[in-house]
């Protein structure tokens, strides 16, 4: 009676894997994983941009706190940051949904890494570009906004993709604080059925792979579309 690979545990719970109890209850499963990843992705892009720009500021009073923050976050395990946000944010600001504390944690953590990618991207633009723009009379923020960043961001796309693929996978750590994303849903079903851990975890491994692969494919397409060095 025991098959080697019992697919029915997947098919029976497929909707639960995909969207949790939605629409009758909160969103869960793959849906929640994507929600956490996309929101954190957007927030950490801007967070990283701001941190990156602050950390190359001319003013030490701005630069050093930014660098200290980046190094602090990079020196901590993500799980620790998730715990910190989970316990700290409600203590500071009252009740906050677990989803949001996880989004905060993922965004802060990824922002710190993103900021270094952005600094490297800015440093990678030849000095002549800044000098040319400066010599036409543009102010330094205009040079950054119109000349340096548009070029730097395009060069950074591969590194961004790396970071965001990590981010998609990192959402799985949210299960530790009871956020019902894909991994949490899988452990729930595993605890309930007790007999099919191989099937369940092989399935979610494939789902994570598909999510990440879809994202890298999307970004390859984006990279081609944004390529401006048409003559090289």
């Amino acid at each position: 009676m025991e098959h080697f690979f019992n697919i029915s545990v997947i098919t029976d719970n497929f909707t639960y894997f995909m969207i949790g109890r939605f629409p009758h209850g909160p969103l869960g499963g793959v849906g929640l994983t994507l929600y956490l990843a996309v929101v954190s992705c957007i927030l950490s892009f801007f967070g990283g941009l701001i941190l990156g720009l602050l950390s190359v500021s001319r003013f030490p009073a701005v630069r050093y706190p930014a660098l200290a923050f980046i190094n602090l976050v990079r020196g901590m395990p993500l799980l620790m940051v998730i715990f910190w946000m989970y316990f700290l944010l409600p203590a500071l600001f009252g009740k906050i949904a677990e989803n949001n504390t996880v989004i905060m944690a993922l965004s802060l953590f990824t922002s710190a890494y993103m900021s270094r990618i952005i600094v490297a991207g800015i440093d990678g633009i030849p000095k002549g570009q800044t000098e040319a723009a400066t010599s036409t009379g543009l102010k330094s923020w205009q040079v950054m906004y119109y000349i340096v960043l548009p070029q730097a961001l395009r060069n950074m796309i591969p590194s961004f993709v790396n970071q965001f693929v990590s981010l998609i996978k990192d959402t799985s750590l949210a299960f530790i604080v009871g956020v019902s994303e894909l991994t949490h849903v899988a452990t729930q079903i595993n605890n309930r059925t007790m007999a099919f851990p191989t099937e369940i975890f092989a399935f979610i491994a494939i789902v994570y792979f598909i999510l990440c692969f879809a994202f890298t494919s999307l970004s390859r397409w984006l990279e081609r579309r944004l390529s401006w060095s048409k003559a090289i």
Partner: protein, 246 residues
């Protein structure tokens, strides 16, 4: 128009500009030459403060660069700068390379800025390249676009830092033609170059530098025919007959 008075500059311990006194009058075309490392590039880069000076007085277009209250961006808008490596913005089309500064700084409407840019592109002979990207152009074409970009702000001074040194020999002529045109139109120009033909034809004065010092300052005919300083004589010999100079 440009006045250097006892200007000094150091890079760490290297004395790159040593007590420079120089006066450029409106409409003058000044050629600066000298061996590499002589400080000529640094000299021209101090004029729009790409390199700040350490000591002395530098007055450009009536504004004192050693005065902290001087709005340097405002001054830079009045000075066009052409680089050895062109430094066009690779992510912008030719027309946008030229119109960026006029639109963002002078607040000129886009349409008007583009009309002006087309006039300049026609002047440098590249009107048909308006929508090309810099990397699709040859070096000579890129440099002509860079000159158009410099002119788009309607500058009162144009600075050229070895504008033909990165070009293949057959492209040097087209860039020099544009520069000669500009010189004849009465633009105040400071040109760092080794193109002695250009210097002879349009320069009003030639300055020879070495070790951060101005060693000789003369009208081109005197400089080329009767160089006074020994280093200048040696430099000219090497420039004119590089194979037989040793």
């Amino acid at each position: 128009m440009i006045i250097f008075k006892g200007v000094h500059k150091w890079f760490k311990t290297l004395h790159v500009l040593n007590n420079i006194d120089l006066h450029v009058t409106p409409g003058e075309v000044l050629v600066v030459c000298g061996p590499s490392g002589s400080g000529k590039s640094t000299l021209i880069r101090t004029i729009n403060q790409l390199e700040p000076i350490n000591e002395g007085t530098l007055i450009v277009d009536g504004m004192d660069l050693s005065d902290k209250k001087t709005d340097i961006n405002k001054l830079r808008a009045e000075i066009g700068f052409v680089f050895q490596q062109f430094n066009l913005y690779p992510h912008l089309s030719v027309i946008n390379n030229i119109t960026l500064a006029p639109i963002k700084i002078r607040n000129i409407p886009k349409k008007e800025a583009e009309e002006q840019a087309m006039e300049l592109l026609t002047r440098v002979g590249l009107a048909e390249k308006r929508d090309a990207y810099p990397l699709q152009l040859s070096g000579g074409q890129q440099q002509r676009v860079a000159i158009a970009r410099g002119l788009a702000m309607k500058p009162r001074i144009m600075l050229f830092d070895e504008p033909t040194s990165a070009l293949d020999p057959e492209m040097i002529g087209e860039v020099l033609e544009v520069m000669k045109d500009l010189a004849r139109s009465g633009m105040t120009m400071v040109v760092v170059t080794h193109e002695m033909g250009f210097a002879r034809e349009v320069a009003h004065r030639v300055v020879f530098m070495d070790y951060g010092v101005i060693l000789e300052e003369a009208p081109p005919e005197d400089f080329f025919m009767r160089p006074q300083h020994e280093r200048a004589q040696q430099f000219l010999r090497q420039l004119l007959t590089p194979m037989q100079s040793q």
